[in-house]
């Protein structure tokens, strides 16, 4: 049978496979065909592993249905930040071009053990630094809802591929909004788990006190399932704790007895009017389901971007010191002096935004500035954590728009770093406080998707996903972009 992949969830893929309605090979072929049909326009993928995916699917088909694991044979796309054995992993950077990991990231090993089929590697901002995927050294990714616009970032390829039906789901990473913001801009679900829920072993590091791995999916149920597949304590990442309970399969359809704080600072004139309208309707939806919504002020979150643009670049400047042309990746051709080799390799290998952030981080950590900048940013972080703690004493969840604007035009913000940074106003404080956050499609502003963010206390993923599912069922947003109809 031929499969229409547009709108297809991972749970539906699983049902089709379990019912014997399609083989893993047919399903994988359908996604590869979809990639072949639309990816020249969308540009989600940096690498399509057609041969590897078909071989893995054939191996699944060789096993009797009764002996298969629940998700065996379901395809997935991976952000190009995850190390996959024998599959080029570049982090969308010239400095890692040609790097072929000799090992799997822990999350990749888990997905492999669960029998998922890897379709390939997805585009991103170089080293996950950006909010539009325009900082990729290799390709432009376009928003499936409007090909003149960005998909968001840094997990832009992951969000675009799920929106365009090129994969049922994808794995991304989120340091300041890099899962939730592109999910919002592409009309898909994006979950950033609590810091410590998912291992980062084998995930190229950006800002280690903030980085977290999470799912981008078509609906909330799939997000819960993919979270359960990758979460857990890992001896190879000493920051991991794992989930306090599995997310399971969310079924809740009401919000009775739940209190939602609407974050006052994440609204107002700086927000696109269409976004504010969609958000207001969604808040009405929460109330209609029995949830109580009240405005709550978290004054310190307005300092979030300033704190983030000290902490993240500082940690990045240290993490990216390893890219020196010695152990992997790019090295300048002729150089007979070590210092010179480092400098020329790094200057050729890193793109402009990565260099900017290394410079900011190096400056903030350098002698004489450490206390004024880095330490002060870490104190601001404490202030933000305290504001969230106070809010969670009164509310089960906090809600806001995910992004102040819908998808912007390609090229519109690329020459203005500070304006680009403001894209992550509502998502950054969640990383600073290590909280779980999810973006779900809430509606449209001038034809472009708008996401709603739900923020929960540490390790509240199960309850948060139940609430997100209830709201998703109420809002009933059609998340298949017109792109699908044109090429169907």
């Amino acid at each position: 049978m031929s499969v229409d992949t547009t709108g297809l969830t991972a749970y539906r893929c699983r049902e089709l496979l379990a019912g014997g309605e399609v083989s893993a090979s047919e399903l994988t072929r359908a996604y590869l065909d979809r990639v072949a049909a639309v990816d020249e326009a969308v540009g989600s993928f940096l690498l399509v592993d057609e041969a590897g995916a078909l071989a893995a699917a054939a191996a699944v088909d060789a096993k009797p249905l009764a002996e298969r694991l629940p998700w065996e044979g379901v395809p997935i796309g991976l952000k190009d930040i995850f190390c996959v054995t024998d599959m080029e992993t570049t982090c969308a950077s010239r400095i890692l071009k040609g790097y072929v990991p000799p090992f799997d990231a822990t999350v990749v090993a888990k997905l492999r053990a669960a029998g998922l089929i890897f379709l390939g590697k997805l585009n991103m901002d170089e080293f996950a630094m950006g909010s539009s995927t325009e900082n990729s050294a290799f390709a432009i990714t376009r928003n499936p809802w409007d090909l003149e616009r960005v998909p968001g970032g840094s997990s832009g390829g992951s969000a675009a591929c799920v929106a365009a039906g090129e994969a049922p789901w994808a794995l991304g990473t989120d340091t300041g909004g890099s899962i939730r913001q592109p999910a919002s801009l592409c009309g898909v679900v994006g979950l950033k788990p609590t810091y410590g829920a998912v291992s980062r072993y084998g995930v190229v590091a950006f800002a280690s006190s903030l980085d977290q791995v999470g799912p981008l999916t078509r609906d909330v149920k799939d997000a819960a399932a993919l979270l359960d597949l990758v979460a857990g304590r890992d001896p190879r990442d000493s920051t991991t704790i794992g989930l306090s309970e599995p997310a399971g399969r969310p079924e809740r359809t009401d919000l009775e007895g739940l209190r939602f704080g609407v974050i006052k600072e994440f609204g107002g004139d700086a927000f696109d009017a269409g976004v504010s309208d969609v958000f207001a309707s969604a808040v009405d939806g929460v109330a209609a389901l029995g949830g109580v919504c009240e405005e709550v002020s978290l004054p310190s979150v307005e300092r979030g971007i300033a704190a983030y643009y000290l902490i993240a670049p500082s940690e990045a400047s240290a993490n990216l010191a390893r890219f020196d042309g010695v152990r992997y990746g790019h090295r300048v051709a002729a150089s007979d002096d070590l210092y010179e080799m480092y400098v020329r390799t790094r200057s050729e290998g890193f793109g402009p935004e990565v260099k900017r952030r290394i410079m900011i981080g190096t400056y903030a950590l350098s002698a004489g500035y450490y206390d004024a900048y880095y330490a002060q940013a870490q104190r601001t972080r404490t202030l933000i954590i305290k504001d969230f703690e106070q809010a969670f004493a009164r509310y089960d969840f906090l809600i806001s728009p995910t992004s102040p604007t819908p998808a912007f035009k390609i090229g519109e913000r690329i020459d203005d770093p500070l304006t680009m940074y403001l894209s992550d106003l509502c998502t950054i404080p969640v990383n600073l406080a290590a909280l779980p956050g999810i973006s779900i499609p809430a509606g449209f502003a001038a034809g472009l998707p708008v996401g709603l963010q739900i923020i929960g206390p540490h390790f509240s993923e199960r309850r948060m996903l139940e609430a997100a599912h209830a709201l998703e069922q109420r809002l009933q947003v059609d998340t298949v972009p017109p792109l699908a109809e044109v090429t169907r």
Binding site: Y339, E340, K355, A372, I385
Partner: protein, 93 residues
């Protein structure tokens, strides 16, 4: 604000080199970002601890037991210059 000399100094620390043209663009960009984050330097946060890790977790230990790891060949195969299982680098000038 950040001076041209400071930009060049920080670039040396970060093992980066910028052309004249890049410096002309970078200096005001960095200045703009530093002016923005400078808002924090002006806050009185003297009573607050610094947060380096936002989830309660400390002293994570494991048993000191050897286990299988990458072979030398696997560990070095991505090196741009490798000889007899070692990474080759230019002389230290």
């Amino acid at each position: 604000m950040i001076s041209r000399e400071e930009v060049e100094h920080v670039a040396r620390l970060a093992r980066l080199h910028f052309s004249e043209e890049e410096l002309a663009r970078l200096q005001p960009e960095l200045g703009q970002i530093i002016d923005y984050v400078h808002q924090l330097a002006e806050l009185d946060l003297s009573g607050l601890e610094v947060t380096s890790h936002a989830v309660a977790l400390k002293n994570v230990l494991r048993s000191d037991v050897p286990e299988a790891s990458l072979t030398q060949e696997e560990a070095t195969r991505n090196g741009p210059a490798v000889e007899r299982g070692q990474f080759v680098v230019p002389r230290i000038g």
